[in-house]
Amino acid sequence: MKFNTYASVAAFAIAGVLATGAAEARDQIQIAGSSTVLPYASIVAEAFGENTDFPTPVVESGGSSAGLKKFCTGVGENTIDIANASRKIKDKEVKTCAENGVSDIIEVRIGYDGIVFASDINGNSFAFTPTDWYKALSDKVVVDGKIVDNPNKTWKDVNGDFPAQPIMAFVPGTKHGTREVFEEKVILAGCEATGDFEAFKAANGDDKKAAEKACIALRTDGLSVDIDGDYTETLARIDSNKDGIGVFGLAFYENNTDKLQVATMSGIQPSTETIASGEYPVSRPLFFYIKKAHIGVIPGLKEYAEFFVSDEIAGPSGPLAQYGLVADPELAQTQEAVTAETTMGN
């Protein structure tokens, strides 16, 4: 223990010397957050560095929650300037931010991301509905008016039209923003569509929250596997278990079409067009959040935001759409808000 102290003391001394040597203002934008937004942010950061005189911003990954937590630690040069998020900032996080002096936050919606269900390219094809996924993965389902442990073992048990392929689903782990969307737009939707929601509500004494919780609890008997890593891991799992069906981001699927086939949801083929039009049901908006206090302090911050949402970048024919982002039909409003530096709540 003592050596650690020695080491840190010496380290501080050297660090101090170095830090004073280069104490001038940070000239590089620092971004952290969602690993879903990371590819888009890195594409923009690279183009920003090439097209302007500002240095290329650095983009860290780590997840929406981790990024927002970092974002809310305070204002100043050694805090990050922008947090990427694959979900909206929560009220609780806004409060934490305000407590730490981060009161003016600019919210920028960059577009939409589709969540797709894909399986091995040589396996069976599927046309899912939320109900199928609910019946396949929920911990408890209602059979003949009674709440029982999920008895379904194959997709044929779930829906007579499906082949008798064993259920094996790889879903994102709870630390991913994707999981929330999956629970809300697929499992919960299926729960409500089957009418099981009402049964859960009745069983929980009319408590809506508890009923929702019961709906989205996934089975724990090994047929639904939480993937805490990235989509690469999900892909590797499907590679080794050909019966597996995985949950992916649209962009990831489009980069791996040689290995994966995508299933339709409620009869709609996922694509940038169907997601932009809102026909494909499982999608979510992507955001980044800017600290207004840093605009003017960190060079290029506002320029970066404006560059990001410009038509050439985030528009339907820009590089982001090319990579798999679904362009926001209301991009013009976002551009105005960024230019005017409109903060949240105003």
């Binding site: 050596f3 080491a7 380290a11 170095l18 830090a19 888009y40 690279e46 290329t56 860290e60 050694n78």
Partner: protein, 446 residues
């Protein structure tokens, strides 16, 4: 038990006459068990070697592709008007792309290749970094404007993959990034000698690239990051580690306090590295307010990790110096300090250096603590300007860069992750060989 029946010469009248030349049952049994043990040993070694061969084969077969890259030669007319117009727009590189496209079309026309593709389709052949290459050239050589210059642009990852056999025709049915027409075009271009495949210096020396252009990504910047981190580790852990070991080994009194310290050092050497990462995040970034993602912080964290290793190996090599050396020095009137610094330390130096190099090699390959101090992501996109920047500007490290590539969607990044492993292994092997050479050349046996 067998010994008892064998060993005693007074074992009684029942004892058989035995001959040294005739092999009796017991001897046979013992010889057989020896032979079996040898066979176990050999099979253990063989299994180990098989794993090694499988690992090396996997690394080389997956990673060697990253070291070659396809380039497309395109003569581009640097038209003054077009360049001025491009410089006025927001996304200048997209206009430069149009300039390249014009040149590319002309080149294809000259080779007699009919594409029938629109600009968007044609763009998929080349890395989107080509426009940046062109713009950089124009800004650096304004005197060339108006002339026609031949560039070697990086081909896109799919085109590159096709020429390397990674992308196959039958894979393209669902691929929106490329279709069969592109592959026909590549084949025609290869006949016309417009594409070349050469050693990929950009991969070894370049910076990281965004998800949309894996063909441009390189290890260079993260190598620089690793270098600065190792510099911090070396500068801190060698003097601190050696000073601590000399004190503990030669001067410190033997009491419960030094015993406690000793136990703690041994324990620290076994602490999982991610723990040091959390410590680094709490102490260096949140408390001491050092910049995020800086190699300095990475170096400090890795120093904490390396120190116990260096202290343990230094103490072992100090212990290995025979006491007669110390006694002789003290006997001719040297002070304790003189005896240590003039006699003991120089003799222990090869061992200390070996331990340090092994410790550094371990630190070089460490990823886990770097995850927590923000060195994973799209970080290594700039080379540092100068030494101060090298320590403080955000950068990544080699293993962190490999980890990041392995996560990305495009299969070309996967290939690059394996390629990165090859580079990292080369460094680790070089360091270990250096350690072995040092030990062989300078170590003295007593």
């Amino acid at each position: 038990m067998t010994d008892a029946t064998l060993g005693s010469p007074l074992a009684g009248p029942a004892r058989k006459k035995s001959s040294l030349l005739a092999v009796d049952a017991l001897t046979k049994k013992r010889n057989a068990s020896e032979a079996r043990f040898k066979a176990y040993g050999v099979s253990a070694v063989v299994i180990g070697l098989l794993f090694l061969v499988a690992l090396l084969w996997a690394i080389l077969s997956n990673g060697l592709g990253a070291f070659s890259q396809t380039f497309i030669q395109v003569p581009v007319k640097l038209d003054k008007g077009a360049i001025e117009a491009a410089e006025k727009s927001i996304v200048k590189t997209s206009k430069y792309r149009a300039i390249i496209n014009t040149g590319f079309r002309a080149e294809l026309g000259r080779a007699g290749i009919d594409t029938g593709m629109d600009d968007r389709g044609l763009q998929k052949m080349m890395s989107s970094g080509a426009a940046a290459t062109l713009r950089e050239f124009v800004l650096a050589n304004p005197d060339q404007i108006g002339r026609t210059v031949t560039f070697e642009f990086v081909a896109s990852s799919r085109v590159d993959g096709y020429l390397k056999g990674r992308v196959k025709r039958e894979d393209l049915i669902n691929d929106k990034n490329l279709d069969a027409a592109h592959l026909d075009l590549i084949d025609a271009m290869r006949k016309a000698d417009i594409v070349t495949k050469t050693f990929n210096w950009q991969f070894v020396l370049g910076t990281d690239a965004s998800d949309s252009r894996p063909e441009q990504a390189g290890m260079g910047a993260s190598m620089v990051g690793s270098f600065f981190m190792m510099l911090v580790v070396l500068m801190l852990s060698l003097p601190i580690g050696v000073a601590a070991s000399i004190y503990l080994e030669e001067f410190a009194p033997q009491n419960w306090l030094t015993d406690l310290i000793e136990v703690n050092i041994s324990n620290l050497a076994a602490v999982p590295s991610i723990v040091f990462g959390i410590l680094g995040l709490a102490v260096f970034i949140q408390f001491a307010h050092l910049p995020q993602s800086a190699p300095l912080v990475g170096g400090l964290v890795l120093t904490l990790m390396t120190l116990p290793t260096i202290i343990i190996s230094t103490r072992a090599s100090l212990k290995a110096v025979p006491p007669s050396i110390r006694d002789a020095a003290l006997g001719v009137g040297a002070s304790k300090m003189q005896s240590i610094f003039h006699h003991v330390l120089p003799l222990a130096m090869p061992g200390i250096l070996t331990g340090t190099i092994i410790g550094l090699a371990q630190a070089l390959g460490e990823t886990a603590p770097l995850l927590l101090i923000g060195m994973v992501g799209f970080i290594a996109s700039n080379f540092p300007e100068g030494v101060g920047d090298g320590f403080l500007a955000p950068n990544s490290a080699m293993p962190a860069q490999i980890y990041e590539w392995a996560k990305r969607a495009d299969p070309a990044f996967y290939e690059r992750a394996w390629g990165g492993i090859i580079i990292l292994l080369v460094f680790l092997m070089a360091m270990n060989i250096l350690a072995i050479v040092l030990r062989r050349r300078f170590e003295r046996r007593w």
